[in-house]
């Protein structure tokens, strides 16, 4: 079974082990230690870590298409944001009549805009199952339509990157409009509770953090399952020699479409988990700069490794937190320099460094990466 195969891999076991260990440690340090203790992890930090894990899942999704399929999507922020909006709409409906204007049906911003009734696309979002399904289906459908059009016409490489960027840019402009019915500029915010749990309590925050960790684990296993299957090898084949793959009888566009849609759905899940933790979703998540930032997380961590994406996402965002707190002006310099340095000097990313070190220290059992295993056995 393709989904269980990764569980037998050492690298995946290691990754899951570290992830679950981290989840447990954070939970224990948060719950068991009193607030004054230097090792106590505050609710704020738990949420911050939860945010990093969302980004990590998003980065894994991008790595799946970029690393293994060779599709540099500069629009994955759009899928992330769509997932986020689906969750945001659910959370908005959960507010009910507790909003400023006290309307039982309409969210505050609609009352403010003098809308009389709920737009049709808001129907159903008061039900959790529907909203959660939309978290997967909305980004999935967009990826399906967009990907079907693009891959069918064999738009790849730089062209695809540019039009994915145009896609998220167009969506950003659209969501900025009040008439779209997604809160315009301000987006959706002032959430109260999720599945009946109050979002402002520490326990709910911890729960969301753990849920994100589990989502990351599942997302990682799904991606790993795909890349270790024969389909994963076909993906790599598409990435490196698209025409050759076609002449072997594979429908390259369908392979691309499948992986792209899976990736978009994972990005949507990441967005959906992100929104209740940060408490807001607005059109800035659609901004092209955010999408391209995701790519640099992956590049820093190391393409086509999946775990590298996780490392990259967490490192860059930790650095961002530190920088923006200490010297906010320097952050964009640092980020810009990161883009340049990683691409020029570290094309394999951190994962590449790790692999090289491991190879030089013990010339033996490498990780499951095909190239290193083969080198090791030779």
């Amino acid at each position: 079974m393709w989904l269980t195969r990764p569980l037998q891999e050492r690298s995946t076991q290691l990754f899951l082990g570290i992830l679950f260990f981290a989840l447990i440690v954070v939970t224990v340090l948060h719950l068991a230690l009193p607030e004054g203790n230097p090792l106590h992890v505050s609710a704020y930090t738990v949420t911050l870590l939860g945010k990093y894990l969302c980004y990590a899942l998003l980065a894994v999704a991008v790595d799946l298409v970029w690393g293994y399929l060779g599709i540099l999507s500069l629009g994955h922020g759009a899928f992330f944001a769509l997932g986020g909006y689906a969750m945001g709409m659910y959370l908005m409906r959960q507010i009910g009549d507790r909003g400023t204007y006290g309307d039982p049906i309409l969210p505050d911003f609609m009352v403010f805009l003098n809308w009389q009734e709920l737009p049709w696309y808001w129907y159903g979002f008061d039900m959790a199952w529907f909203a959660f399904a939309m978290v997967l289906l909305a980004p999935g459908a967009l990826a399906l339509v967009f990907g079907w059009l693009a891959f069918r016409s064999r738009v790849t490489g730089v062209y695809l990157s540019i039009i994915t960027q145009a896609l998220t840019f167009a969506l950003m402009l659209a969501f900025f409009r009040n008439e779209m019915g997604f809160g315009g500029n301000n987006g959706l915010t002032d959430f109260r509770d999720i599945l009946g749990f109050n979002l402002r309590t520490d326990a709910t925050r911890l729960g969301l953090f753990i849920a994100t960790g589990i989502a990351l684990a599942i997302g990682y296993v799904v991606c790993r399952g795909i890349v270790t299957s024969k389909l994963g090898r076909v993906s790599v084949a598409c990435r490196d020699a698209e025409a050759r793959t076609r002449f072997l009888g594979y429908r390259v566009e369908r392979v691309q479409l499948f992986v792209f849609v899976v990736s978009a759905m994972l990005a949507g899940v990441a967005g959906a988990l992100y929104v209740p933790q940060v408490g807001i979703i607005n059109p800035s998540e659609f901004s092209p700069i955010f999408s391209i930032e995701i790519v640099v997380w992956v590049a820093l961590g190391g393409r086509a490794t999946l775990y590298g994406a996780v490392i990259g996402a967490i490192l860059v965002n930790y650095a961002k937190t530190v920088f923006t707190g200490v010297m906010p002006d320097a952050w964009l310099f640092a980020l810009g320099a990161l883009f340049v340095l990683v691409t020029v000097f570290l094309p394999q990313g951190i994962a590449g460094l790790l692999r090289k070190r491991r190879k030089s220290t013990d010339d033996g059992s490498g990780p499951s990466e095909s190239s290193s295993t083969s080198e090791a056995t030779a």
């Binding site: 393709w2 795909i226 299957s229 050759r244 095909s370 030779a378």
Partner: protein
């Protein structure tokens, strides 16, 4: 061509009358049939009224100077390039012009490129695995399991192409000649009815060339093979029937001796090389 004349054409076989997923039908003659094919790029006629017939089980060599249209012809057969006019049939049932590259490949036409293209990031073994005849749709590929008989088949081909020792190395590290072999191996894995082989011996040593010649001749009979080659010695060593292309159309056809004595051929091609 207007619709009326198209409908009135007696030799026309309507698409809806031709079952597309049936096996290749060669009872009524050739396995590959090109008629009046024309292609031009920006006014340059790469293929000019080309007519070509390949019989089932035949080994055919195609020669011709640079720009004669050899590679373009392969592009047309495999669906990469659509001709401006003409018809291309695989067996008597499959109109190749209406099919996509993967469809044509699944039908049983394998192709080796001029520049050897293997998947460099994958191992030699994985390259062969991907080429293996199998259900190549997305979900079957996702859930595919390697069965012992598959492994045996790959091992068998590995032996044929003499790359057993490099089975788990990435294909990127292979030498040029080894890549040629690997690509031939991938062709074998596909078990095609028709092999299109573009310059198979470029970059090979004398012995490797001999083995390739042996391999290709042994394939003929069971499968049809079309070889495009520049190396005259190699062509002479395998050729039964040779077609000379010049400026996008057939200049001469026959045995190697017939062709090499044809004054036209000598003038445009052999003459220059000799």
């Amino acid at each position: 061509m207007s619709i009326m004349t198209e409908l009135a054409a007696r030799d026309r076989v309507f698409n809806f009358l031709t079952p597309t997923d049936s096996p290749v039908d060669v009872r009524h003659g050739p396995i590959l049939y090109l008629e009046d094919v024309n292609v031009s790029f920006d006014g340059f006629r790469a293929i000019n009224n080309l007519n070509l017939t390949i019989d089932d089980g035949e080994l055919r060599c195609i020669i011709g100077p640079n720009g004669a249209g050899k590679t373009t012809m392969m592009d047309i057969i495999t669906g990469k390039t659509a001709p401006d006019t003409g018809s291309v049939w695989f067996g008597s049932r499959h109109n190749l012009l209406t099919m996509s590259e993967p469809d044509i490949a699944s039908l049983g036409i394998g192709r080796k490129f001029q520049k050897p293209t293997v998947f460099e990031a994958l191992t030699v073994f994985e390259n062969l695995e991907l080429a293996m005849a199998a259900d190549k749709r997305v979900f079957p590929t996702l859930t595919a399991q390697m069965k012992p008989k598959h492994r045996e088949r790959i091992e068998e081909v590995l032996e044929t192409i003499n790359l057993q020792d490099l089975r788990d190395r990435p294909a990127g590290i292979l030498s040029h000649g080894q890549k040629q072999w690997l690509e031939i191996g991938m062709l074998l894995m596909q078990k095609p009815r028709l092999l299109l082989v573009d310059e198979p011996v470029a970059g090979m040593t004398e012995q490797e060339m001999e083995r390739t010649a042996e391999l290709l001749t042994s394939l003929a009979g069971k499968q049809s093979v079309v070889v495009v080659e520049h190396d005259m010695g190699f062509v002479r060593s395998i050729a039964r029937k040779v077609t000379v292309l010049h400026q996008g159309s057939v200049l001469a056809e026959g045995s190697m001796d017939q062709v090499s004595n044809d004054p036209e051929v000598i003038k445009v091609y052999l003459g220059e090389e000799a």
